[in-house]
């Protein structure tokens, strides 16, 4: 870059005006060498103009959009006024000129080549660390390149990937230093919006993983219930799950007088009032309703399951439904045995699993036995319907880096959608809820990692293999979900229907998927097996 060299050589000349000997000295002290080439730049601004030119080149090289319109559509300043010209071009890329630190070392020492891009520096880092001095140099270079690039957010994402890669390779020292850099970079990014928050969560999760304290993140049962409740209030995902599952269960219970619902995670029982009310108003009169709620045992002697059951019973009594409740306390779903549920053969059974089934996916994919065992006894109970709602993402990949990358994009979208929530403190606690999930996905391994989310396609295969057939969620469920979304103030949510399942997403990125299943009759199963 010819101009670049001229600028630096011009900058190192202290008395540039001396080259214009004999001519009248301009008041603004225009650099003489550049003036000879036709460009008017003040000597005092030479360094800044050079840095801005460098940044302009970086931005143009890395710009994702087609920049040819710059040649035709944009109005440029007279290029002989180089400073204004480069500023006007930078503003085309939304890069406002920023004041650079005054202790910046001389430019030629720092810039490795004409085009400095993210991957180049990234590769440089992972390939060339041996001594601390080199590390320092690289850190310096990274800091300076960062100062010159405007988009620290993208920088942060790339650093997170690099750090995760180091963790996967077991290079904990590198990862540790990267985390320090990222924390420094985080102060420059706005922490209260977008990438700042989710990056903060992932940085914390990575540092927990490096320190080896991943297992201690999970909170107490009552804490989790409170966080879950606030997550329910702050965004529509759980409401969508509840209403869609209820609609499917309501339709499956049509015509039955004795019905039984098994809930794999009762929490505060927020799903069931709506079903109770819908059953009370159904044409033909309400059935006898039994609800069995599974939940973790409460540590402090309170029987929280029973309390929730009493509340639901009071509600059912108010609307004149015959109702009985049974609580099953189990810390893990695989500890539940079918006899605890006391299912009677005469009643119509519905099994409801909201964000629970993925916890059964053990670390050993070959064995798969908790999942097979549970799906087996569910099938043997012959439910009229099983409603399954799961996160729509693959956080159960064997390679850590793949998991990390997928989780980063998934939770970024989640946090984006949460930005629109106006309710405090619901929003803050919902973010903590998501933070706990992130920690589990990133820090934990083996049986401690319970957040093993898998996409809908995988669940379809797994459930079909276990003897279940899909039930299409009807148009009523879709209409209800769409209506529910219009009630939320944020405009980015979207409901989609794929092969009878509904997904709720943010800006057409599906985040949660609801599906319904019923058991294939045994005759058909043996027929399938014999083929």
């Amino acid at each position: 870059m010819v101009l670049y060299d001229s600028a630096t050589s011009g900058g190192s000349n202290s008395g540039s005006s001396s080259s214009c000997s004999g001519t009248k000295q301009p008041v603004a002290e225009i650099d003489g060498l550049l003036a000879g080439a036709g460009y008017k730049v003040r000597s005092s601004e030479l360094r800044q103009v050079a840095q801005r030119l460098e940044r302009l080149e970086t931005v143009m090289v890395n710009s994702p959009a087609d920049i040819s319109q710059l040649a035709s559509d944009t109005v440029h300043y007279n290029p002989s006024d180089l400073a204004s010209w480069v500023d006007s071009l930078l503003s085309e890329f939304n890069q406002p000129p920023l004041p650079l630190p005054s202790d910046l070392p001389d430019l030629p020492d720092i810039i490795a080549g004409p085009s400095v891009n993210h991957t180049a520096v990234g590769n440089y880092l992972t390939d060339n660390f041996t001594t601390t001095q080199q590390q320092q140099q690289q850190q310096q270079q990274m800091m300076i390149v960062t100062a010159m690039e405007e988009d620290s957010g993208i920088r942060l994402v790339h650093m997170l990937m690099t750090c995760a890669e180091s963790v996967q390779r077991g290079e904990m020292a590198v990862a540790g230093s990267l985390i320090e850099d990222m924390k420094g970079l985080l102060t420059r990014v706005n922490p209260s919006c977008g990438i700042g928050k989710v990056a903060g969560c992932f940085i914390d999760a990575l540092s927990f993983r490096i320190m080896g304290v991943g297992g201690s993140i999970c909170g107490s049962v009552s804490e989790n219930e409170i966080l879950y409740h606030h997550f329910y209030e702050a965004c529509p995902y759980l409401k969508f799950a509840h209403f869609t599952a209820n609609q499917a269960i309501l339709e499956a219970f049509d015509g039955h007088d004795c019905v039984h619902v098994v809930d794999f995670n009762l929490m505060h029982g927020l799903q069931w009032p709506a079903l109770i009310q819908a059953l009370a108003l159904r044409p033909g009169g309400p059935p006898l309703l039994r609800l069995t709620g599974i939940g973790p045992p409460s540590p402090d002697g309170r029987d929280s399951l029973r309390e929730i059951g009493l509340r639901l019973a009071e509600l059912a009594r108010s609307v004149n439904i015959r109702f009985t409740f049974r609580g099953v306390a189990a810390s893990r779903l695989e500890d539940v045995k079918p006899w605890m549920l006391q299912v009677s053969p005469k009643e119509a059974l519905a099994v409801n699993s909201i964000l629970q089934l993925h916890k059964l996916l053990g670390s050993d994919p070959a064995r798969n036995s908790p999942m097979e065992m549970v799906l087996g006894w569910i099938r043997n109970l012959n439910p009229k319907i099983m409603t399954v709602v799961e996160q729509e993402s693959n956080h159960n990949q064997p390679e850590f880096l793949d998991r990390f990358t997928t989780a980063l994009y998934y939770y970024s979208t989640m946090f984006d959608s949460l930005e629109a929530c106006p309710l405090q403190p619901e929003k803050a606690l919902a973010e903590i809820y998501l933070q706990r999930e992130i920690c589990n996905v990133v820090c934990c391994e083996g049986s401690a990692r319970v957040e093993r989310h898998e996409p809908l396609a995988k669940w379809r295969n797994r459930l079909a293999g276990a003897g279940f057939r899909p039930l299409h969620l009807g148009s009523n469920a879709f209409r209800q979900a769409s209506m529910l979304l219009t009630l939320f103030s944020a405009e980015g949510y979207s409901v989609e229907e794929t092969e009878g399942c509904l997904t709720l997403g943010w800006h057409s990125r599906p985040l949660i998927a609801a599906s319904a299943w019923h058991a294939v009759p045994d005759v058909m199963m043996s027929h399938q097996n014999s083929n």
């Binding site: 209030e233 709506a274 819908a278 108003l281 609307v319 309710l423 209506m483 009630l487």
Partner: protein, 160 residues
Amino acid sequence: MQQQQKEKKLKFFINDDIDILIEILKRLDGRSLCVAACVCRLWRTLARNDSLWEELCFRHVSSPPPSSVRPVVLALGGYKRLYMVCLRPVLSRLGLAELTSHRVKRTWTRDELQLSLSLFCVHYYERLGAAAAAGDTDRSLGECDASTSSLMFLCKPVNV
């Protein structure tokens, strides 16, 4: 005698004819009904009558609701509460999108009614929980007006 009759005719006072008053109040919209409740004690007592609010709730429903709805709504807190807490925000949210394009008084569907009733039920259930947490033994839910959070998302203005 004629003087007295003339005076009586001139001094027509609506509060003397409660049936007519009720018929008029039945046809008001929600905001007017609330304003009417502030006029005097008689009007306040009449406006508290839940059947007036029932009329209001189902005025624009395309088909009349089944008879089983009333006991359920009354058990969950009554039509006035249903309107104030659920229907009004739901209708304004759903209607706002339509108002710009159609500018007609829309009838709303069974589905919207059903959704509102479900949300109302969740609201009632949360009030039960709040009452239990506060240690209320007499369960006077009429006074327990703690704003539960499950419906607060309806109260925030829409980002249009």
